[in-house]
Symmetry: D2
Subunit: 471 residues, 4 copies
């Protein structure tokens, strides 16, 4: 048996290639949209990808199932569970609870595990003929290392009223549906730490059923009501693009032939594109953005969170222009394509010559925590905390307004205009993004509190823990 | 004044960026089709490309004038000389003999210099206001370092009967049309050594009028008849794609948005593509091809001659699959695009796993010169010399059949089938290409004479100098 | 807890980075010698590498413990078990059975598990304070996925007489020493499929104790005598460099400041280096090598087995010159450095111009299985099977001489000189290496049986299963 | 004849490879220290580098003559002119005025042309047997496109009193020493635009003698006194490292085996290195540096001027640490090695995690021209103009102090400490470097005038043209 864990750190997303060496046949579970990685594994290991499956309709990335099927001719096996609203709307064979299928000698048993989503399924893998014992469980967004999937996405992101509680109760049942499996089964989930599909995912790629039964809160909480309350509490804000992904993944995402290859622009071409409506994503780091940037551009730094912030902030129906060095463009384009943001039409390697076109560059004013502390006292500034509601809940600067950085475009009205607004997050990454959003939407009286809440605490200034986020 | 010689070694083709630093305006002369190089120069030097021109309708590469105009909005200035048949068939402003135009402070004077083609023009550049003296002459395919352009392409490649002599006489006149210019003017031609647009181009990028007047045979031959005879003698075989280029460049080549990005294939996908009609170009070197290759593939080694051999052998209307390592694919695709071969649909990095698909690999049998010498004597083999007619004329193995490697597909009927055919060129590069063509067309009794004619001579075997090529 | 499985496919070798996020402290287990990978993980994840440990004195690669300690100042923790002969001979702190140490909040318990080597230890990891349950076991070369470590290396590679049986009995005890641990503990071994440190390692990176107890032959064989017999049977031939590694790793390998950066050579420089005694490694694939190569060069194709074949064939005390394209040189150098082969002094990107220096290139003659079958019958050829003894034992061509490809330099006397020797392996990879070794040692009457034993079987020719290998 | 102009844009330095195709022999003129480029040309074109020569003892880069001789075994031909003080102090053959040597069929005639330096020679190339006419002249730092070499470097950089005038008169004679050569000879100089070895070099790679005779001021100024005055007027400030280069190039620079390969550091290793005395070069652009940087680091942006600014500011005897992304490190190291700055011991790809080590990052305060204009009026700020003396002379802000950015370390005492110092250059590149120098030397009351003198002029504020630079 061949097994490969393919991890995409931008979305903390795991897909799997499992192959039977005796027959040369392989399956891919939960493929991402830039499928080259699977083709290369298959080629170098000598497999033919004959099957593709998914654990569920994903909300955080665009599935590569259709690209991969087009490239390989593989059979597509997808969940038929969850009722009429959750049926995939493109060519496939249905899998339902209790089904089995084989990939060469390997047997996959299907278990329906709703909770995260109604149609969610898991796969128990048995490495026949070596042994009749189950070796691995592919749990998708149902069971993670140290956590279970969140049941509230449908309501939060797709607007299905009341779905939260229904999902939470289903999750309780699904957790115990696995009780028949032995402790030693390996658990390989669909996400790692950092994914917005759960709240406390561990930074370890895999676990075992036995370990989770002893350590995972979901197994240790035996009272269903308590379980439901705990599960629904403190889930992170789902990025705005999640709703779109759900729909596209169910209907069948557009099939890409190959990754787009944007042209290098000169400053005047960039200006023309902006004039025609392109969004500018400045992927330089917060220091460079603060030191000078194109007015109107969003700062989404080239980091593992690039896809997620792009998902929060970009309009996938409009053209996108990147500011990023040549050697990073291909990877950033791939990160955008993974969430269905396909319209990258050009890039500028740096901003050195932007001012030649008559554009006046903008900076992000920096304030030290000491400055801010003094000015709060004098009423000269308002503080805007762009962290998540749960971070805010754990402690914040008194009277700070809390709006999640990704939600700012919908909450501009709440930003005070009559005095300077000092933006901060935990350490400065998100406040740079947030400052760029405010500046781009014409909020000029903005400054960034260097070092963020961490620096504020290090300086020993007072904090409070009550209060409610605005957005 | 800013000046940049942009040289593409595959086609030995020169284009030029000339800019006026005082105004930031620049012109590109004879742009190639992958225009990124010009955009990057303009960006890094701070120029705006406001003008594009061509010296003539090119036969050896697809012009990038339309791509560049689309990307920059530059004004397109093209020859209006040569009569109705030689008018560009897309948007432009016409230039005729005696015209002048300026790029910032720089003045370009237009001289009509027919001979290579009827519409051919040159540009005299004066770097105003520094001096009223002419500084450079852009001569396109009219005047080269040590040679002048060939006047026979229209007849050879485009089938215009009688054009050879007409062109040769025009060339004589054009050569002397420059007599009014001073010796010290720099001459920057459209091609360097290795181009098929002339026969004796020097491996030096530029020259001066004064030096050419003293050294170039075209200036030293003062009798017109002698000039015409000399000019028409011994020109290299023009690749078969030249005729197509002429037509496309006049009509206006298809504008590419960006270079194609072929997908990496696995062996079975490659097989599917071949079954659907794709041509396979094996870009590995002659050693690797000889050691094992896919039956039916052409060996066009990754070298500076790649474009030219692709032009000889490929059908631009059919899909192309490359066998080349990942890091070379982009460049090879660019080399194909430069001649209008846009349909590269995939690539295979190596042939390691090809035999897994059931394909039986083929080798190229090698024969030493000693073997061949013996077997010629015994009548066991025929010798096929795939060098050019002029090389053959200078000396060859007795009774060797001479067919230029690029013309083999049209001369398969002349290849003997009743005995082994030993292929050779000068050193082995072209005979590998030729062997691949023969094998791909079902001529099985082929072997390669290792080391080629050079090795034959080194061994001291007899040669002859008379005889006529077949193809 | 942070966990990273760092896998080096050339030696199928796993090392691990485990970090405590609460304290920022991390440990590296079994580091390889090119340590950049650990520094980058630590940097990007925000850890400080404070500890380094090893499971045992490695035989198959040179440890990077000293490089990593020099670069980070980390504390070095090494086994103090195994008696006086097996004590590390450089600065470290000793670990013995029953010891515990902590990395931030994480606890590592040391278990002495001799068998593969006398000093071998394992680590049980507990992720405190999350849980008191053990989460992972780092088993080094003691327990693999589906197998246990081989106990015969000391005798085979280091010449310690009688060590095989002693080790096998110790292994039996060590296997059961883990009985106290629960089924659900994850097992992360020191090697994956393809390593010469065991015979049947699975192509899955990890397993669980429970699964191994049910499936691994070592747990299912409860009779000690039977266990010992099974364990010692059919182990692969250990490469010749294993003995050296043992000694160097115990004494403390030379610390590299950075990877060597060999110069690109031209053909005449290469010739000079060869004249001064350099070994030439031709890393092109078998097709290219067969099609033409430098006489005297070894063909060690650029593949995941590169390090192992270099370990079999190269003299680490002599200079090495590579034939490999520019973009592959850095990785190949790293692969050599991993086994202590540090003297790569230059490389040639291809062999195109080698013959310009007067060198006459050599080819590898190819024979089809049909040819060989006929010529065996007529007595014209001898067959040399360069596969492993166990493959030979499973079936071979009648009367074929069996010498493992890596052992050929020590068995040249056994090669017949009075007739053609046809070399084969399973599919052609190893027979290309073997042919290169024979040619380099002056055995000229060599040809390669294309397609190998697999093709012989496909053709339906007879095979036999008895007989003994020669070397 | 083969000819290749090898241009290094960082030092605007030209070297040349000239080869005789008939014999395969080539010469390199004025090689730079990273010699790989010459070896690759020789290899790909099939030449053997048999000769190396220099036009003079260079001041602006470290010669690669010794590296290249070591790698190729080429004969080294160097000037024997200029008297005892200017004799090369390592193995070579001497060339004096009137000497000739051949490279294959090519003849090089030596002309002694002192002025820039006493030992300076030029080479007249004749392409025998094609023609007896001279084809090219290699003029080194004697004759440039549009200018002649500066004669004041010895005095400015090497402290030879009175050398300026002597050199200027010699230059006048040398200019006319070429009168015997025809107009049509091509002139290929040692530098292009941007070099500090002259003051008005054109951005065109080559010229002709005839054109220079008509356009170059040095030919048009026929009065010797006027010539000398003009030549000595307005030469740019020579970087501080020029003196060292002269000495090292005469004595024979240290021969490098290969380019250093610095290790990637983590923040804490960088801190350790700084504590041990390493200089930190932050090669990010001015925006990133302004937005946040390591206190004490110099900002030398990754640009074509990188070598020159490194030459101004770095101590070649101390370790250097770079802040630059991975893919730029090799090139930046090469740029440093070209001027003999060999001790790059590590690099940090970005500063994201620097603050984790407890280091507090610093920003560069930005002031708009409007702010500065107001504050000058109120006496709140001093203006520091870090442009060259000649730029300052052409116009500056009233009362601005002028110290060339590269000379700041020697003029710190002149910087006012009692009020804010606003730094500016023309557009902001040099003022970022200058601000970094001031901050690194403890001058804290520094801000940068965004947009520089260009923005000041665009805003229509008053300027003056009299006044003297301080440093």
């Amino acid at each position: 048996m061949y097994f490969k864990h393919v991890y995409e750190d931008g979305l903390a997303q795991a897909s799997y290639v499992v192959g039977c060496q005796a027959t040369g046949s392989a399956i891919v579970i939960d493929p991402r949209r830039d499928i080259q990685v699977y083709l290369e594994i298959a080629d170098s290991e000598g497999f033919s990808i004959d099957y593709i499956t998914e654990t569920h309709i994903h909300a955080d990335f665009l599935s590569g199932t259709r690209e991969l099927a087009a490239a390989t001719g593989a059979k597509v096996l997808l969940s038929g569970e969850g009722g009429a609203d959750w049926q995939y709307d493109f060519d496939h064979e249905s899998l339902t609870d209790g089904d089995s299928f084989t990939v060469g000698n390997l047997r996959f048993d299907v278990i329906h595990t709703p909770g995260h989503t109604p149609e969610h399924i898991c796969f128990v893998l048995t490495d026949l003929p070596s042994s009749e014992e189950p070796v691995m469980l592919f749990t998708g967004d149902f069971l993670f290392v140290g956590d279970v999937g969140r049941p509230d996405l449908l309501e939060e992101a797709a607007g299905v009223k009341g779905a939260r509680e229904v999902g939470a109760h289903q999750m309780y049942e699904s957790v115990h549906k696995l009780d028949y499996l032995p402790d030693f089964v390996q658990v390989w989930p669909g996400h790692g730490a950092g994914s917005a599909c759960g709240k406390a995912l561990g930074a370890v790629p895999s676990t075992t059923l036995g370990y989770e039964r002893r350590v995972n809160w979901a197994y240790r909480t035996t009272d269903e009501t308590e379980f439901v309350a705990e599960l629904l509490d403190g889930q992170p804000e789902p990025p705005t693009y999640f709703g779109t992904m759900k729909i596209w993944n169910r209907e069948g995402p557009k099939v890409l032939q190959s990754l787009p290859r944007p042209n290098r622009l000169d400053p005047s071409s960039l200006k023309r594109m902006v004039d025609r409506g392109a969004q500018v994503v400045d992927a330089r780091d917060k220091f460079a953005y603060a030191g000078g940037h194109l007015p109107g551009s969003y700062n989404i730094p080239d980091s593992s969170d690039f896809s997620t912030w792009a998902g929060w902030l970009l309009d996938f129906e409009r053209d996108v222009v990147l500011i990023a060095p040549d050697h990073r463009v291909d990877d950033l384009v791939a990160r955008l394509v993974r969430i269905g943001c396909d319209r990258v039409v050009g890039y500028l390697p740096d901003i050195e010559r932007l001012s030649d076109t008559g554009i006046e560059l903008e900076i992000v004013r920096q304030r030290t925590v000491a400055d801010v502390h003094d000015d709060i006292a004098s009423g000269a500034v308002s503080v805007l905390d762009v962290r998540s509601a749960s971070e805010y809940g754990d402690g914040h600067i008194e009277d700070a307004l809390n709006i999640h950085a990704g939600r700012l475009p919908d909450h501009l009205a709440e930003i005070p205009r009559d005095r300077e607004v000092v933006v901060h997050c935990e350490t400065g990454f998100r406040s740079s993004i947030a400052s760029s959003v405010l500046l781009a939407h014409g909020v000029r009286n903005v400054s960034n509190m260097t070092g963020g809440y961490a620096a504020w605490q290090d300086a020993g200034y007072e904090t409070v823990a009550e209060g409610e986020p605005v957005g």
